[in-house]
């Protein structure tokens, strides 16, 4: 008997309501005091194609998925056997082979599956889904409308599953009713009824008691948070005081913007759906210049359109925007709904020329919050665009966390011009630029940029390179701004001295930023300082790496994990020290080429030869990383990991 540790999976055609089913289950487990990690795999398709949702439940923290499923619910045949029989190029093998020995398969008795000759060693539970729905409807006199309520198969699936693991149905009922409020409460009752009938049916028709998995709530269940990355990103934006969010619909970034759109009225936030991402970024830049905290969210193809606007924000020293860039499989349209960490090098080099920007990659929900919150501060303090890069997995997977630390709540708006406080600072750059006679490229008065000027200059040189910004409309704070190279007035210049001084002014912000960002937000060495293997990785693989290390640790293996978070400015020296101390290094990335590895080699000269890479559009499983780390402990080279499940 295994208590409070199992993986439950529901699979079916898209549009069949598996999301709702899995999310209700995940939430009920979380409310029961258990910890959940739930991830969805789906096609870029509205209806019909195969999708599945996997919910891993445990008493301890879980941050990744395991390959074996203990309870599999199949709403269609394809979920069990894959699509090789009816597609020229089969895309998956179904999930029957993933069921653990002793595990169970609940399937819709109507799908034409005969388990008599199927895989032995597991239990099969054919359930008449439609009959149960019909019965539930008959109770309210709607028996003949069963086909209209076909989507309720998802609650039948849920009720059946709970019967197997003896989970109290009341907890699930509470979650379901919570989702159908007001006018829809009748539908909620209907769903609860169907779930209850399914629960009873399984208890009566099968020997559920012999099923070896149990889920039981803790005596004092603690309501933890069960959240997806995009929700936390949105909440961080709200807490950071973001006034303005722009977006153009794109998977998997849209959810964040729609979530924010829903909060507009309550939180005085303006969300604008734009005509494309070029518009999104440029509206956000215009808004930042006008004095608000502005943001946008996109994914690779949208980011590809935004790049010109990012260079524009950088050269005009706009105090933002904050861009949350959700990675997915590329290139081009690539794998729109699948996982990849393939955009790091792109996001590091988005536009032409040299310019400063900040790139940070959170690894879990807490870091999503911290990084997005901080991003707004950095954008205004250093007057540049800041890019936070999660990925599809982080955006869409549910993870239980105890609470969200809102301690990163200090708002820093940077230097601003308020009229009276303006005192120009003469810096060497200014004197140089003004004094060499090249500055007035188009004929305006050279020498203005020097000391003693009493008027406000938006791009004035200063000791730290940051000029106070003025909010348009401020009396005496008038300024010009241009995407051309410019002088302290903000007028175009092609003068060599001014060009050099302005390049330094902008680029010198990078070391300043590096100093300002707390070290543990830049990188973090998880685990023992002394280890036989040091894993190097970034972003959402964090949880999987930690879960894999934890299991190997129990077997006595000493592995630690260097998590890189701040990608630009990159903490090269400190990372180099850690890398050079390591006995053995292995890179873990969900992309083809090892893009963090390339950054590390560029920045530190260290070549990480052992690489564990995956680019099939599916995140690493805990099992895959355990196997890969075991190999890496003894051998060297590139391991290309390909999903064997799902």
């Amino acid at each position: 008997m295994q208590k409070n540790r199992l993986t439950w999976m529901i699979g079916g055609p898209q549009g069949s309501g598996i999301n709702a089913s899995a999310e209700v289950f995940a939430k009920a487990c979380s409310r029961a005091g258990l910890r959940v990690y739930a991830n969805i795999e789906y096609h870029s398709n509205i209806m019909g194609k195969h999708s599945f949702y996997r919910v891993r439940v445990d008493e301890e923290d879980v941050r990744s998925y395991r390959e074996q499923t203990d309870i599999l619910v199949a709403l269609d045949h394809e979920t069990l056997a894959g699509d090789g029989d009816h597609r020229r190029w089969g895309t998956h093998k179904g999930h029957l082979h993933e069921v653990s020995a002793g595990g169970g398969v609940i399937y819709d008795a109507e799908i034409g599956f005969d388990h008599s000759g199927a895989r032995p060693g597991i239990q099969y539970f054919p359930v008449p889904f439609m009959e149960i729905i019909k019965k539930a409807l008959e109770e309210v006199g709607k028996g003949e409308q069963a086909r209209r309520y076909e989507v309720m198969k998802n609650v039948v699936a849920l009720g059946s599953s709970l019967a197997l693991c003896e989970f109290p149905l009341e907890l699930v009922e509470e979650v379901i009713l919570g989702q159908f409020k007001g006018k829809r409460s009748e539908v909620g009752q209907l769903n609860v009824r169907a779930a209850r009938l399914a629960f009873d049916h399984v208890r009566e028709s099968f020997d559920a008691k012999s099923f070896p998995y149990r889920l039981q709530p803790h005596r004092e269940p603690k309501a933890r948070l069960l959240a997806k990355g995009y929700e936390i990103m949105a909440i961080a934006k709200l807490k950071a005081g973001c006034h303005f969010q722009t977006y153009y619909p794109i998977s998997p970034a849209t959810d964040e913007s729609v979530y924010l759109e829903r909060q507009q009225r309550d939180y005085d936030l303006l969300v604008v759906q734009c005509e494309d991402e070029i518009s999104s970024i440029n509206m956000a830049v215009g808004a930042a210049h006008m004095g608000v905290r502005s943001a946008t969210a996109t994914s690779g193809p949208g980011f590809a359109l935004m790049v010109e606007g990012i260079g524009f924000a950088a050269i005009t020293e706009a105090p933002g925007p904050v861009i949350v860039m959700y990675q997915r499989g590329g290139p081009s349209t690539g794998l729109p709904t699948r996982q990849e960490q393939g955009d790091l090098q792109f996001v590091l080099h988005p536009a032409q020329g040299d310019f400063p920007h900040v790139v940070i990659a959170p690894g879990d929900l807490r870091e999503c919050y911290q990084d997005v919150f901080s991003a707004f501060n950095w954008a205004e303090q250093f007057q540049l665009p800041v890019i936070v890069m999660p990925d599809k997995k982080l955006a869409a997977a549910y993870t239980t966390i105890d609470k969200l630390e809102l301690k990163y709540d200090k708002i820093e708006r940077g230097k601003t011009f308020t009229g009276s406080e303006w005192t120009p600072v003469e810096a060497s750059g200014a004197g140089f630029a003004a004094g060499n006679g090249h500055a007035g490229g188009n004929g305006h008065k050279a020498g203005e940029a020097g000391g003693g000027v009493k008027e406000y200059l938006r791009y004035a040189f200063s000791e730290d390179g940051i000029s106070p910004r003025s909010r348009p409309g401020t009396p005496g704070g008038r300024y010009w701004s241009t995407s051309d190279e410019h002088d302290p007035d903000g007028h175009i210049t092609e003068g060599v001295g001014m060009r050099v001084a302005m390049m330094h002014k902008r680029m010198d912000k990078l070391p300043l930023i590096a100093k300002a960002i707390p070290e543990d937000q830049q990188f973090f060495l998880h685990g023992p300082a002394d280890a036989d293997l040091t894993i190097v990785g970034w972003g959402s693989t964090k949880g999987t790496i930690l879960d894999a290390i934890k299991e190997l640790e129990e077997q006595g293996k000493k592995i630690n994990f260097l998590q890189c978070r701040l990608m630009r400015p990159f903490p090269a020296e400190k990372v180099e020290t850690i890398l050079k101390k390591a006995k053995k290094l292995a890179l873990v990335e969900e992309n083809y080429s090892g893009q963090l590895g390339a950054l590390i080699r560029e920045q530190t000269g260290v070549l990480i030869e052992t690489r564990i890479l995956k680019f099939d559009g599916r995140p690493f499983s805990q099992d895959e990383l355990i196997a890969a780390f075991e190999k890496a402990l003894t051998g060297t080279g590139v391991q290309e990991v390909v999903t064997n499940v799902g």
Binding site: K239, A287, M290, H444
Partner: protein, 315 residues
């Protein structure tokens, strides 16, 4: 936007001291003067005006105006100005750019900005060529035309900006001529005062590259009667203003009349083609976020938000 103004600013209050590097005789000078005259006539405080531009010769315009000036990207002036306008409604926003900028690379934004009916003004410097890159055909040059700067005749046809503006939903659509700055200033002032998206297509000469549509051509110097190739709509009794914005028939009729006039090639009508008062994007936003009706977004305190209800929903 509506403006009540004690007249305390003069033309020179809107002139920056930056040396101007446009070619001698450039139509941009007329447009610059037109904008400055309009601002002076309306008595707008230079600290409460923001001028946004695209890229090209016209893109330099904000640098010559004493006001907040944003010289943005090629074709992207409308999104940048839209973002600026939406968050800081206390500032009068004027966007401007060339015909390539607005009707070519930025055509998508031209259309979608019309859909929004944002309360701001957009001026297009329409001289039929890409000046700063030395005279290639712009989207308004007709098929078969060839300026001295072009190696071959234009192979594709020109677009009709007025008709496009009508279709896109601009609520104030006008055309003026750069070398008649006083008339132009009057049109720009009306555009600024109009509540909603106003677009003014400004016919402009490019003495360096466009030898077809020159000052002399517009003035009709080559015509036997030496009669201008421009005429003012209002002088022919044309009135593009919709009297009853709820009257769909009137709207259709006025739009159709505007489009019909926009196809007149010689003489070319200038003046206001179409005008209607409709709820703006800001009006709609203010309904959703009532605090915005009180003050601009930039002035709202968004830093004390309580997200507890959102976190509670995750339990």
């Amino acid at each position: 936007m509506s403006v009540s103004a004690p007249v305390k600013f003069t033309l020179k209050d809107y002139k920056s001291d930056l040396h101007n590097d446009w070619c001698p005789g450039c139509g941009d000078f007329g447009i610059l003067t037109g904008i400055q005259m309009a601002l002076a006539n309306l008595g707008l405080d230079p600290d409460k005006v923001a001028v946004f531009s695209g890229i090209g010769c016209s893109g330099k315009t904000p640098h010559y105006i004493k006001a907040y000036g944003f010289h943005t990207l090629h074709g992207r002036v409308l999104p940048v100005a839209t973002g600026g306008r939406l968050v800081n409604s206390g500032v009068t926003v004027i966007a401007l750019g060339g015909d390539g900028d607005g009707y070519g690379i930025g055509a998508g934004y031209f259309v979608n900005t019309g859909r929004r009916n944002l309360d701001f003004t957009y001026l297009v410097h329409n001289n039929n060529v890409y000046g700063l890159t030395k005279g290639q055909a712009s989207p308004t040059l007709s098929k078969g035309k060839k300026t001295k700067s072009m190696p071959e005749q234009a192979i594709q046809d020109g677009i009709n900006p007025i008709a496009m503006a009508v279709a896109a939903g601009y609520t104030f659509i006008a055309r003026a001529y750069a070398l008649e700055p006083k008339y132009l200033a009057g049109i720009i002032a009306r555009a600024i005062q109009h509540k909603g998206s106003a677009v003014v297509d400004v016919l402009q000469t490019c003495p360096t590259y466009n030898d077809l549509y020159t000052k002399e051509w517009y003035e009709g110097a080559d015509l036997p009667e030496k009669k201008s190739r421009l005429y003012k709509l209002e002088e022919q009794g044309f009135d593009g203003k919709v009297k009853d914005p709820t009257d769909k028939q009137e709207i259709i009729a006025k739009k159709a009349a505007a489009v019909a006039r926009s196809y007149e090639a010689e003489p070319i009508p200038i003046g206001v083609y179409y005008e209607i008062e409709l709820p703006t994007y800001e009006d709609a936003v203010n309904q959703r976020i009532p605090a915005l009706a009180e003050k601009p977004l930039v002035e709202l305190d968004t830093f004390k938000r309580d997200v507890t209800p959102l976190l509670e929903a995750m339990r």
